[in-house]
Symmetry: C2
Subunit: 439 residues, 2 copies
């Protein structure tokens, strides 16, 4: 490699990955637009104080930030929710509810790991201005339809409620904000810890055996939504905040039925979502075939977020990582046949017919058939080697003899077979082939 490498944690998307991203993006957008979300693109650079307002001053350690030439601190956004919430808060004239979605990129200064980059893409959909459980059900339903649209069918959405988790922890005597926050953080990373590590972390919080026992009972509840809710009722949580959380979950269960969602939704009280702005329903979806990839989407309710930006508007939404989805689809071989380069190379048998080859390439292009011709002045053999080496499936050979006969020669570079066709038949055949690729 030269010294002009891509910076650590960044990467270039080459044609194959670009085509996969584009294919996923089109399917996701079609679903979200169908659900009435309007696509937008929030600014990718925010005032640092806008980012800090959501996540506290420590966010500086986890993001790219810098001062502009006027000395103003700016930061590269780390998610889409902040920008969307800021947009909605800044427009008091917007009719509510306002439903926006985005598929775009962001940056975090993490340690790069498997399938995690410092620059990455997310899809995101948010409903601002509805406090109803039907809004939470709608984002979950949209998320489920996104998974189905890209071919993921073996998934589950694990649902809980931050009020329930916080109410429960408070009821256990873990009341002061710092310890409560730490306990939520430990619950959040439970999936990555062994049972021993999990217990160790809880003990280091200074919890006694009764508290730890209680937490273990709490997080062990994982069952289809209705059944899970009656088990949760059995824990005797019906007090104050925990009771509110249970009521929200019961409302959600009812609303999900209206959307025709059944077994895909499970109650999982270990789900808390680490990010500190969630304050109601929370959920995470997993591809059952690849849980190690992590949640394929996640989200929840954040009724307090917009208020930070100057307008009290309830919110609920979800986001998913495009890279994770790509990995999931690759593992299960769910990508269709995608075209990441031209379909046909128009070769010229000699110098005299080069213009004829260009004309044919232009005719193909006008019909929507991606075509290339020789740009190196190579021999016919050299042209065929280039076409095969570049992965083009077909070559069309223009020669003086064929021109005289009024035909073209079409070579299938994979099957190494060849046929003579009239130009019209050839255009028709290639046109059909072009349509056989997904976009």
């Amino acid at each position: 490699m030269t010294r002009f490498a891509v910076p650590r944690g960044m990467r270039d998307l080459w044609p194959e990955d670009w085509a996969k991203m584009d294919w996923m993006g089109r399917r996701i957008l079609d679903v979200l637009i169908g659900y009435g979300f309007k696509p937008v693109e929030p600014s990718k650079i925010e005032l640092l104080e806008t980012l800090e307002a959501k996540s506290g001053p420590s966010i500086k350690e986890e993001i790219y930030w810098f001062e502009d030439k006027a000395g103003r601190p700016l930061g590269l956004r780390f998610d889409l929710t902040v920008g969307l919430a800021r947009m909605v808060a800044g427009r008091p004239d917007l009719p509510l509810p306002a439903k926006f979605c985005a598929i775009s990129d962001m940056w975090r200064y993490d340690e790069p790991q498997f399938a995690r980059y410092r620059h990455f893409w997310q899809w995101d959909a948010e409903i601002f201005g509805s406090e109803l459980a039907e809004a939470d059900a709608e984002v979950i339903s949209a998320g489920i339809d996104v998974l189905r649209a890209v071919g993921i069918v073996n998934f589950e959405v694990r649902i809980s409620d931050r009020k329930l988790a916080e109410g429960f922890l408070r009821g256990m005597g873990i009341g002061d904000p710092a310890r409560l926050g730490e306990a939520i953080r430990i619950l959040d990373k439970r999936g990555k810890l062994s049972r021993g590590e999990f217990l160790g972390e809880l003990r280091s919080l200074g919890l006694d055996d009764r508290q730890i026992e209680g937490i273990l009972d709490f997080v062990s509840i994982k069952a289809p939504l209705e059944e899970g809710l009656s088990r949760a009722r059995g824990l005797g949580l019906e007090r104050g905040m925990a009771e509110e959380g249970l009521k929200e979950l019961e409302g959600l269960a009812d609303a999900l039925r209206g959307f025709g969602i059944g077994q895909e939704a499970v109650l999982d009280l270990s789900v808390v979502r680490g990010l500190d702005y969630y304050d109601g329903i929370v959920f995470e979806a997993y591809d059952r075939g690849g849980e190690d990839i992590g949640a394929i989407f996640g989200g929840g309710r954040y009724d307090g977020l917009c208020g930070i930006y100057g307008r009290n508007v309830p919110g609920t939404g979800l986001a998913g990582g495009m890279e994770r989805m790509m990995l999931s689809l690759e593992r299960s071989a769910l990508f269709p046949k995608l075209r990441s380069g031209p379909l046909v190379f128009v070769a010229s048998a000699n110098e005299a017919v080069r213009k004829e080859a260009i004309r044919m390439a232009q005719r193909l292009r006008a019909k929507g058939i991606p075509a290339e011709f020789d740009l190196k002045g190579r021999s016919l053999r050299g042209q065929m080697e280039y076409a095969a080496g570049s992965g083009m499936p077909y070559a069309l050979i223009i020669g003086p003899r064929e021109l005289e006969k009024g035909v073209v020669k079409l070579r299938d570079l994979g099957a190494r077979s060849e046929e003579e066709l009239s130009a019209e038949d050839c255009l028709k055949k290639l046109s059909d082939l072009a349509r056989s690729f997904a976009r």
Copy 2:
């Protein structure tokens, strides 16, 4: 506005502009993919030295740059060409020619002006590895087809050659690199200067009357390509570098004929393209109806650029600003009817039929008809006000009486008319309406 504004020179794309960007992007990509360009996405953050290698250390003044937490200087990219050239230079295994395109965003720390932001989008297509005039002709032809694909038909592509301009200036005795660079810079901004200002700038370079006269004759040549070339021959430029430039232009004129390009191409010797890496054919396209917007695309040959990144590969390409194109299309009312929000609001006449409304919304969505339902628990009247206020063209009213009769009520919110239909007929009608919007 709150203190959480968008940083100066940045902006959010709201649904209407997003829909326009998306529409343009789809058309542009279809053309470029047809021409055999493979879409990619180069890293948006580069090592600062990668950006400086192309544009010199002074580029720091014009871009966003910062040190990462390891003290490594990084910069936000200011164009797509650098990243594409770096990608190609770093992959010696790539078959050549390699044709890549990208539609994406970048940043420059300019003073914000009319239709110019500090964050903006470009489309870009590049051919690496061909020294033939047919490659230059192909990028120009692709550019022309991009304009036609979005509906711009009244345009011209102004073409010149950097070797011709430099050879001419050297022949006039303007030989030392600093003065030569300055002279090119003055030619480049000629369109923005009055004749008096232009002469003043040339005089301040220390040029005498004979030189200024010569330059005025040179830049005055603007005519259809063939005619222009014979007028340029009349200037007696046939020496060394200028002669090379003329030969390149003659080769290009011949190649453009092969692509069927005639009157759209004009020779305009005042075109030099400011950026310092061009070293052959250069061109700029203008919408004749809006020259004040500036070039709608521009490009040229840069045989020396990839070498900077470690691999000697000739290159030629073009790029255009998405914001400028949007402005041009808006002025000429060339955007089709785009949908930036849901097509239909499914209203429920009372609480008892809410689930029925959700079910209908889900049926519509499954058929690709963007639909929304009440998420505020509003009265029917409140729901209709919201639907109309949000710009939705249709409302579908689910009521107990209609449910009993097995019909739905479809209201045209623009025409304020209403009809009763079976659910099936209604789905069919809305499905057709959904298809009448461009995407």
